[in-house]
Amino acid sequence: MRVVEKRQILSAEEIDRTLQRVAHEIVEKSGGTKNLALIGVRRRGVPLSQRLARTIFGFSKVDIPVGTLDITLYRDDLSTVASQPVVQSTEISFPVDGRDLVVVDDVLYTGRTIRAAMNGLFDLGRPQRVRLCVLIDRGHRELPIEASFIGQTVQTSDTEIVEVRLREIDNEERVMLVDRVS
């Protein structure tokens, strides 16, 4: 699949400013940090959730627990793929029961990843609340899923792809809109 870059959505500096703002929003709309925990969805939700936690610690001096969730086993499309995707680990070292969880991912698109994430979380216990935080909401929902905390909303077409590059994973830091070419 060949892609061509159409435009840059966020630069490195803009990603940082966006995350700073979102971190404050999370604490503001949660009435503080009590009972709060972040769950990063593999892969890119993980460094995002860790950065948010560090920012929150920076201004509130509270260490919010952060977990990582691999949703591979909860995907709804496994029986359509010829080779099973590699499973990675879920590491949530704190009890989920009664927690105020914020699930963190890079891009919200159809909502199927988040549906799978919720299935995964509910296998671990009964959270008090689950809200969603994403860096980019690109529309085209196929399920009734919404984000409470959004970095940026971007209008996209079906052929376009939002590419998020983060230094922890990609050695680069930017968000681009790319289009498929045939």
Binding site: M1, V41, R42, R43, D70, I71, T72, L73, Y74, R75, D77, L78, S79, T80, V81, A82, S83, Q84, P85, V86, V87, Q88, S89, T90, E91, D105, V107, Y109, T110, R112, T113, A116, N119, F122, D123, L124, G125, R138, I161, V162
Partner: protein
Amino acid sequence: MLQHFEDLLGIETLTREQITFILDQSKPFQEFQRHPLKKLATLRGKTVALAFFEPSTRTRISFATAAARLGADTMNLQAESSSLKKGESLLDTVRTLEAMRPDGIVIRHSSSGAADFVAERLETPVLNAGDGTHEHPTQGLLDALTIRDRLGKLDGLSVTILGDILHSRVARSNIHLLSKFGARITLCGPAMWIPRQLESLAPNVRRVTRVEEALKDADVIIVLRVQTERIHEPALAAEEYILGYQLTRERLRLARKGAPVLHPGPMIRGLEIDPDVADGPQSCVLEQVTNGLAVRMALLYHLVGGAPADAPHPAKERSNAAD
């Protein structure tokens, strides 16, 4: 790196990379065993046939639980109630099973090569749960996972295997696997159970008659059960075995400090292993059982899951899918 498997018939034909892949894929399933709700929908709608032509409790329950936790259904064939007693051939039995369209067949059989025989003739993925004295690959894998977790590595270890190696498919799978990681393997037991041909199974395999010499500086010790049901010649007297080969606390001290002690089970306490060693801190028997579940879940996930081999490959459409 993704690996593609169609069957799992033995360790001998696997590469180091494939083995490492399976062990790495077992880790998330190890973690899964600690979840309060141990039920996935990953293999929902899939059926796994458990074709056990030889009696088994632990392996059968382990595979059945692995399948159930992944959300799959199982078909249960057990030797005691098998139509084999009425004279049906192995091939007819598995073809009958295949006609019910399982998505995977787990087979245990008393003939070496039975799993390969079945895999060559059926489209369905086949998992070898033990064939004669040939291989028991899932045991080899779970043993490797246990060793790797305990010692932090699998490379270049001194491994001592103690007991009736002649009749042990577990030992053969262990030998194939560990030698692919550069192990020096020492086989020890009564001479009639350690024939010379075993040295040619893999590089760096030696036979030793005295247990003290075999255990000296060992990094890992694998103790095998004395298999009285397999022996047709007069069995070695239990007292002689204990005197010559039992893994006692004193003998264990000859090995490296903290060397893990593995046993595929079931153990005969007081025969091949001193009860204090079996219950001591170096004993890995319970971890082996838990790891067995994780390994079998990982294997069923990769072999039984997914589209059937002849399904059209779906167009790669969405790419903001979680990666």
